[in-house]
Amino acid sequence: MNERQAPNPESADKWEVQLRKGSLELAILAALWGGRLYGLEILRHLESGSDLVVAEGTVYPLLTRLRTLGLVESEWVESDSGHPRKYYSLTAAGRERALEMGRTWARFAASLNNVLAPLNGLVREEKP
């Protein structure tokens, strides 16, 4: 899932990559809504709860970026596995941002679904 290797700028693949990339920040903030998680837990949460194929090399830098933006905070916690793990949790600003993005997403999805109404029957048939 390397967005740099998108073969053709015109392709639907590239559009999908951009879509996933754009929604990853919201997905991560939402994953942390229930409490603190470390990187691999966030990855597993995203993969189990969705068919989002998440690149590991994308999530970690994004988590660091969210931290510099003050949306999440992190702490190192000792574990039984022999090495400490870096746990992330939402800050107040992060919660606010998650809600704001969630609302925007819901509004956007509803509008787009309205526009897509003519394709409805066909699109649903494709997915088993």
């Binding site: 691999l40 690149a55 590991e56 090399g57 970690y60 933006l69 870096k86």
Partner: protein, 215 residues
């Protein structure tokens, strides 16, 4: 926990490459990132038990250079830049403080050295001019205490009737040899300290400049 050698080597190599590529970031950020990726690899591969699994995990993370590039965002670079300039400022302020304090000490020590040396020279000369009145006088006071004083002149007589000169003519070599020696020593010490504390930025070539100063 001991890892198979191949796993350990692959993980260390990957993290070392990642660290190199992150060198522009703040050291604190760099360490944080490298440790987090290490934890991820160990968690993902049951502590690196299977070398093939380690290889797969490293591949999923992408090349160290690509991964590092995703970390080096504008915010992180700005953070590193801000940190660099603040430590630089602190270093310069520290250097100035040390410089000023050392300068103060040099001034005080020099002042003491020159004064004492100068005093000895004056007393030495006074001994030649007023031999009877000049000396290191020990005076027994009426209440039994003792006063020690270096004096000269005052009409070429001892400062008190019961005053006793401790040095006699020894005062002459002490004043005229030790005095200048102390002055010279103070000068050398001051110059040496100054050179150590404030080294010249570039060597000035005196030989080459001589013809110009002659004009």
């Amino acid at each position: 926990m001991t890892l198979p050698e191949a796993s350990q080597k692959a993980i260390d190599g990957y993290l070392a490459a990642l660290r190199r590529q992150l060198r522009d970031l703040m050291e604190e950020d760099m360490n944080d990132i490298v440790e987090e990726i290490r934890a991820h690899i160990l968690d993902k591969t049951a502590a690196g038990a299977d070398p093939a699994e380690v290889e797969q995990t490293l591949a999923a993370l992408g090349a160290p250079g690509d991964l590092a590039a995703r970390y080096c965002t504008e915010e992180m670079m700005r953070r590193a830049e801000a940190h660099r300039s603040s430590t630089q400022k602190a270093r310069i302020a520290g250097r100035w403080t040390v410089s000023i304090l050392a300068g103060l000490v040099v001034v005080i020590v020099s002042a003491a050295g020159y004064s004492f040396g100068g005093l000895l020279v004056i007393v030495g000369i006074a001994k030649v001019m007023w031999p009877k009145g000049t000396g290191l006088w020990e005076t027994i006071n009426t209440d039994g205490t003792m006063t020690l004083g270096l004096s000269g002149g005052s009409g070429n007589v001892p400062p008190a009737n019961n005053a006793h000169d401790l040095l006699g003519w020894w005062l002459l070599p002490i004043g005229l040899i030790l005095g200048p020696a102390i002055i010279y020593g103070t000068y050398r010490l001051g110059r040496w300290t100054a050179r150590r504390l404030w080294p010249a930025r570039k060597k000035f070539n005196y030989a080459a400049s001589e013809p110009q100063t002659e004009i």
